[in-house]
């Protein structure tokens, strides 16, 4: 299905423009010809259009409009003091002004942006690569035939069954410096307490560890599905030819998992890049701002810092979206170069 959507936007958009232009051109010449074309299109496609109408309407109103407004806000100096608001019965009109690209130059010119970006990328790469590797190893193990398989599988997907924010709080409890079980265990072994969440480096380690813990089950189940779709005959044939376990893994398993891997890596990259709850609930971006990623920074601007900076937050939001779109385009292009249909 993605094959359809993977035709580039530019092309799809371009088609639209051409059609519109052509239609307009025609309408100037023969109005009736155009209406006939439109009527024919309506007659053929009205079912489809009627069926997608609710979604188009909803997307337009609650995503399209706020998106446009978000971009506009990023070009203003809106904050909590100058936006329209109602205090009691009194309504105060908005007084913020259009400031052009000032917010962008301010954010991009501030070293904070680069710091956040670097850590966000590190965080994403670390989380996705570790999660994928562990998922792959565990999936390969579970794909064998042995006693207790079902029980292990059940245990290993448990983290996925618990709502994310609950798990994060559980980990906050385990990580607690003075009373957390992790430090008590270390203490039992005579090792000094580790400031899991209170030291910038350990905090980074901790947030990655928790996110990996949360992400491995999905990875594992998805890859296990992929493994089970690889025909067993391939392995038998390879074994007959004397291929070692490693060779079988490299030349049968990895290529066989390609489609699934590409998908889960893309999905988990985007999820991790935008992973708000883990950072926000585990460290609040701290200590200091050492674990703050781009998304939590955008949240902080509008809802934590004082005065709340709506324009600044919108600017961070637009920048994050732009980065993700660039990433998605580059990822797809590189896949296409390798001859992947996706």
């Amino acid at each position: 299905m993605a094959a359809h959507t993977s035709q580039s936007v530019a092309k799809a958009a371009g088609d639209g423009v051409e059609n519109d232009a052509a239609a307009r051109g025609r309408s100037r010449r023969t109005d009736s010809g155009n209406t006939r074309g439109l009527r024919r299109a309506l007659a053929t496609h009205w079912y489809a259009w009627a069926m997608i109408a609710p979604v188009v309407l909803v997307l337009g109103v609650i995503i399209g409009w706020p998106l446009v407004r978000g971009v506009y806000l990023s070009l203003t100096d809106a904050n909590e003091r100058n936006v329209a608001r109602t205090i009691g019965a009194r309504h105060i009109d908005a007084t913020y002004e259009f400031v052009g690209l000032d917010n962008y130059t301010a954010v991009l010119g501030d070293p904070v942006f680069l710091q956040r970006l670097v850590w966000t990328v590190m965080w994403t790469v670390a989380c996705v690569s570790i999660t994928f590797t562990l998922g792959l190893v565990l999936a390969n193990m579970l794909n064998r035939d042995f006693r207790g398989r079902a029980a292990y599988r059940m245990a290993l997907i448990l983290p996925w069954a618990v709502p994310g924010f609950v798990s994060v709080f559980a980990w906050r409890f385990l990580f607690n410096r003075d009373n957390g079980i992790l430090n008590k265990i270390l203490d039992g072994g005579g090792i000094a307490a580790i400031p899991w969440l209170d030291d910038p480096t350990w905090a980074k380690f901790s947030v990655v560890a928790v996110n990996v813990w949360l992400g491995v089950p999905f990875m594992m189940v998805a890859l296990l599905g992929g493994l089970q779709s690889i025909p067993g005959e391939l392995y038998e044939a390879a074994e007959m030819d004397g291929a070692s376990a490693w060779q079988r893994f490299r030349h049968i398993t990895l290529p066989g998992l390609r489609a699934v891997s590409m998908t889960v890596i893309l999905l988990s990259t985007i999820w991790t890049f935008n992973m708000f709850p883990v950072i926000f609930l585990l460290t609040r971006g701290g200590p200091g701002d050492s674990t703050e990623i781009l998304v939590t920074q955008a949240f902080r601007e509008a809802f934590v810092s004082s005065p709340r900076d709506f324009a600044g937050s919108a600017t961070w939001g637009v920048l994050i979206l732009a980065l993700l779109m660039i990433f998605a385009l580059v990822y797809r292009r590189s896949l296409r170069k390798q001859g992947e249909v996706w």
Binding site: M1, A2, A3, H4, T5, G16, H45, A48, M51, I52, P54, V55, V58, L59, I63, W65, L67, R69, G70, T86, L138, M141, N143, R144, M154, A155, L158, P159, W160, A161, F165, F169, A170, F173, K184, W213, V216, P217, V221, A222, G225, Q228, G232, Y235, A259, T263, V264, N274, F276, P277, F280, A298, F299, A302, F303, F310, I320, L321, M325, W342
Partner: protein
């Protein structure tokens, strides 16, 4: 692969396999188990390492009687439930249309559905916050429901397309032969067949709304208006840490989700990856 008998695996490899899986299982299960045990300890013992000493339901009693847990729970059920029903309802016909028809506007629509799923909440949260403020919907479940639809609708449409794709087109064709129009075909033939897919989509939409943190933290304030994601945060703040209540609440939040989950998880992955792997 599973059908092959591999009697040749060395005993050492077998031990290694079990040890690794056992270790991984302990890491996976322990945090959850520890929270469950903590919830059964008297509040003053919450931070001890004793497995269970004087087990008590005191934390649960406190939670249900002296905290706003029940209203948070009700808020979450309301918000996530209505989001799910609306999301599935609005998105069902679109999933069907993009699965079955080729029409002008389809490619841009598919593209939009895909892009919006990777939208960071950071881009919409401020405009939506201001919008809800203008409409007087901050602190209202309705405001959060509308907000969550921005996540649920594109997601549901995308996932349902995947499920409709698995239903043979011949069924549609036979419906057309019997004189049904596309709506009739959809309603009478395809929708009943797609029920399991709808259920899984709905389940996932529910879980997503159930676990959402950012919008819930920003839009809902005031103790009794919170959803669970916001409420749980109040137990462990900068100043107080009521680990006993936190753990009891965690257990009560996780159990219903986990039970559903165990039934649905196989289909979840299929639905999520189907979109991208079935070229």
């Amino acid at each position: 692969m599973t059908t092959r008998t591999r009697g040749a695996r060395a005993p050492l490899a077998s031990v290694g396999l079990h040890l690794t899986l056992l270790g991984a299982s302990v890491i996976a299960v322990f945090p959850v188990l520890w929270i469950l045990l903590t919830s059964l300890k008297p509040a003053e013992h919450a931070i001890t390492t004793d497995f269970v000493k004087d087990p008590t339901l005191g934390n649960y009693e406190y939670l249900l009687e002296s905290s706003h847990f029940l209203s948070w729970f009700a808020n979450s059920v309301l918000v996530a439930g209505v989001t799910t029903v609306l999301g599935v309802f609005i998105a069902a016909t679109t999933g069907y249309a993009v699965s079955r028809f080729k029409f002008p506007g389809m490619k841009p629509l598919m593209w939009t559905l895909l892009i919006t799923q990777m939208f960071p909440m950071a881009i919409l949260i401020v405009p939506l916050y201001n919008l809800m403020g203008d409409l007087g919907l901050l602190n209202q479940p309705l405001g959060l429901i509308i907000t969550y639809l921005t996540i649920a609708v594109p997601f549901c449409a995308w996932m349902m397309k995947g499920f409709f794709d698995t239903i043979p087109v011949e069924i549609d064709e036979s419906g057309r032969v019997d004189g049904l129009n596309p709506f009739g075909t959809f309603w009478r033939l395809i929708l009943p067949l797609a029920k399991p897919g709808l259920a899984v989509t709905g389940f996932y939409a529910f879980i997503t709304a159930w676990g959402e943190v950012a919008y819930a933290s920003a839009f809902m304030v005031g103790e009794e208006n919170l959803t669970l994601a916001g409420g749980l945060q109040t137990f462990v703040t900068q100043y107080t840490s009521n680990w006993g209540a936190m753990s009891a609440a965690s257990v009560l939040i996780a159990i219903p989700a986990a039970i559903f989950f165990v039934f649905a998880q196989r289909h979840l992955v299929a639905g999520m990856t189907a979109g991208a792997t079935k070229g």
